[in-house]
């Protein structure tokens, strides 16, 4: 009996209305939160979460209110939808339009889930004439350790940001890395001008000698990146002194050290997405309307080189005209360096087809349902006028 009641609740229209109403509240809160937070953080915190902690008074950090997050809400909507169709709709005829609409909505919700799980967003920044075979994740760093191999090749070990914790250790053939301190966002200053709130820890070797670091809250603005830094000790398997290096993604290049006669390199850098092909920027152009600063168009003329397929061709990437290649979309996102550098956004979204399918289904369903309502209303009116 209780089961029956629960099923009734889960399939009820009342629940639908409550869930949709709550969806509006959540979306509204997430929208106004974007004044203080980056859009990426907002999506993670409100829509891709089970519980969304809402900072009611931003800047004050007084209350963080727990709200049901987008993931929870989406699941509830899906359950409600499936239950309603299972419990009620099969009893009525002529509900094909409704079925079509709801199936379309379901596909759209699933599309957003898959995008969240499988989608990737990276960037490729290229100077004119530069060639690159990887994109970077602007918000994530990785600890890269480059091991020299006997045949003159190199092996790159990349430790993702999620595993960089204070005290974490990582073992490699011949040495162990220990993360003494990891700061997701930080400020680095020369030791002599650093204030009291800086960390007491110092590097004992490498490029970071003589610098002090202090922790900062993470950046939220869309156009600003975290300045991450880490103190990493290198412990050779044979024992002996363990030099401590200061690594940061603001430092260019890698830092070298020797263990058992081999020269290794290490760096904290923006996480990379490697491609089996290369892109070379031939020319970037940026036109403005005469006498104004309003951009008329920006475009990147690129050469795509793929040794596997033997491809070597030119393409032009511009607004509303991205390059789609091997499941990735490269679109013109920005420029820098006095119009000599292009910034391409690199997006991977294997679930891209679902919204298209959903759109067609829901639109057709809505047209079906509403036009049948309209026809009925007109027929009723005719009857009442004639009678």
């Amino acid at each position: 009996m209780n089961l029956r009641r629960a099923a009734n609740v889960f399939s009820s229209l009342r629940l639908t209305v409550v869930l949709l109403g709550y969806a509006m509240v959540l979306i509204f809160i997430a929208t106004i939160s974007q004044v203080h937070m980056g859009i990426h953080e907002v999506v993670q915190q409100f829509f891709r979460s089970w519980i969304a902690w809402w900072d009611v008074m931003p800047g004050e950090r007084r209350w963080d209110l727990p709200l049901p997050g987008g993931a929870l809400l989406g699941c509830m909507l899906i359950i409600n939808l499936l239950a309603a169709h299972g419990m009620r709709f099969h009893k009525r005829k002529g509900k094909a339009g409704m079925m079509l609409i709801h199936l379309g909505i379901l596909i759209m919700l699933l599309g957003e889930v898959f995008t969240g799980l499988l989608g990737k967003e990276a960037q490729m920044t290229l100077d004119e004439g530069q060639i690159s075979h990887y994109s970077i994740y602007p918000r994530d760093v990785e600890l890269a350790l480059i091991e020299p191999m006997a045949d003159g090749m190199q092996t790159v070990h990349a430790i993702p940001q999620s595993r960089l914790k204070n005290g974490a250790e990582f073992s490699f053939p011949g040495l162990t890395l220990r993360v003494d301190r990891y700061l997701p966002n930080s400020e680095i200053l020369e030791e002599r001008i650093a204030g009291k709130d800086f960390e007491p820890l110092r590097a004992t070797a490498g490029a970071g000698l003589g610098y002090a670091v202090r922790s900062l809250p993470r950046e939220t603005a869309m156009d600003r990146r975290d300045l991450s830094s880490a103190f990493v000790s290198i412990i050779a398997d044979g024992g002996g002194e363990a030099p401590r290096l200061l690594l940061s993604n603001v430092m260019r290049g890698t830092q070298a050290f020797n263990v058992a006669g081999k020269e290794w390199n290490i760096a904290l850098r923006q996480a990379r997405l490697y491609h089996p092909f290369s892109i070379k920027l031939l020319d970037f152009s940026h036109d403005r309307y005469l006498g104004t600063n309003v951009p008329k168009n920006f475009s990147s003329k690129i050469r795509l080189l793929n040794p596997e397929t033997g491809e070597d061709r030119e393409d032009l990437i511009y607004m509303n005209h991205p390059l789609r290649y091997q499941g990735l979309t490269f679109y013109q996102a920005g420029f820098a360096n006095d119009d000599k550098t292009t910034i391409l956004q690199v997006v991977k979204n294997p679930a891209w087809i679902l919204p298209y399918v959903s759109c067609v289904m829901v639109s057709a369903g809505l047209l079906w349902v509403f036009s049948s309502h309209l026809l009925k209303a007109i027929a009723r009116r005719k009857n009442s006028v004639s009678s």
């Binding site: 929208t31 859009i39 005469l290 309003v294 991205p322 679109y331 956004q345 891209w352 829901v362």
Partner: protein, 605 residues
Amino acid sequence: MNAPPKSFLAWLPPVLCVVYLVASVMMAHRSPAGFDFQGFGRLPVVANGRVQPLDSLARNHLLAMQAKQAVPGEGSPASPAAWLAELAFQPALADTRKIFQIHHDEVLGLTGLSRGKQKSFSFHELQPAFPALQREAARIEQIDAQARSSYEKALMRLTRNLTAYNQLKHALALPRMENIEAEMLQLVDRVAAALAAAEKKEAPDAALMDDASARMREMLAWEPMCEVYAVPTGKGADSWRKLPDAVIDAVETRTLPAAAVAYARMGDAYRAGNVAAFDAAITDYQQWLAKQQPSHANKSRAESLFNRCAPFYLTMVVYVAAFLVAVLSWLRMGSTLRKAAFRMLLIGFAVHTAGLLTRMLLEGRPPVTNLYSSAIFIGWGVLVLSILLECYHRNAIGTAVAAVVGFVTLLIAHHLSLSGDTLEMMRAVLDTNVWLATHVVIITLGYSANFLAGGIAIAWILGRRFASISESSSASMRGMVYGIICFATLASFVGTVLGGIWADQSWGRFWGWDPKENGALLIVLWNAIILHARWGGMVRDRGIMVMAVMGNVITSWSWFGTNMLGIGLHSYGFTDAAFVWLIIFIASQLGIMSLAWLRVPHGTD
């Protein structure tokens, strides 16, 4: 006493509307005696990145400076084009026109002027305050635009207007020049002679060299102060040149371009008060344009005619009249006046449509390209839907609500036009007619439908509270609101999803949770909630009406509120005054919604 025949009364108000419209257009066409400023206003230039008539340039500057197009004061130029001619050719006099509005007391305090009775001040009066304004502007430049106080924003607006004014002053002539055509010819002559001498390695004539270089320096100093491209040299908008550049170019060809000669002659004639010479210079140049630049000349002519006719202003007047007649029809002579009101609405709609189409032709774009045009189009969409409703229901409710919503949206458009050129060029990211024609148009129709449903619901609530509407009217209003909400759901959903598909096509991601996208989604969700609540029997008539009014709040948030957050791809139109009005609008809607819950004096629920 014979009552006039009914058909006469049903036709009289519409005929009066047509008479009013025809008279207005003829007035706009009439050219007053004296200088041919209308012809002057039709001349094309490139400013703000597009070919436009001088008339538009003058109007948009005046609107930005003082929120109206008429120049105040006794003996002031009668039209914006006349004002521009004065500014270009007799700047000392133009500088005394009180056209700079200063609302903010602290900004006024900085200028050292006192308000007294006047709100507007002249360039001349403000001149002593320039050093102080410049100092403050340089400081405020460093502050993020979002973080500026109202004083800082007002000050920046004033300095921007002063800069724009100064640029406009230098657009068509160099204020210092006394005899413009002669001086330009001399410059070409002297500089060419000096160059020829230098090439032949003759002994330099020191006086000639000094004179030529002084004249050149003056042109080079003029160039950065001039922001209008007045001289056409080739086909596209990019090939236009500024006057000083064109004069320098002429050194090589030894002949001044037609545009330079024309503006120089106009200037000389204007100062000499020589009407015939001024008009002749314009006629000559127009003939040259008709041969050399026919497309630019035609477009410019059409736009200046459009400006002078002001179709949306005329539409607003007709809508107000239609509303009054529709209200009257509920009091007496129902079907006669209802027909008259509907005919007036159709006349207003025809003018509205003509204005919309003209804008589309001028821009070569689909109807909605910026916030201003979205207001025009929302009003138009409401009219289309309510004309259909009125054909079906025939009770003047559709007419009355459409007239009010049409009027209000055009009023909003008028206020939005104060921020500058409404036919501005599209930023690269929006430069795609396919998506502008589908996503933007459909989603804007969704806004129209929600506002129409909300408008009818307000009429229902007010009608029940303050008048006793009949059960049949009430029933037909229910039908209207339900039908319109169904349409709104379809348009909002399809429009929103098409936006996602545009994003996927252009950026490889379907949905980004950007504030404008979220705003569109809120509308879709709200429409879905209304339909589900109705189907589930959770709300009855009154509930649906209240929810439809709430739809106004949510749609206005999506339309304006999201832009005010100043974030995301869609933040293209921000105005402070709009924020206050949005709050007032939302408060009024909440007030009306609460009115619905008060006890109804007549009838029952």
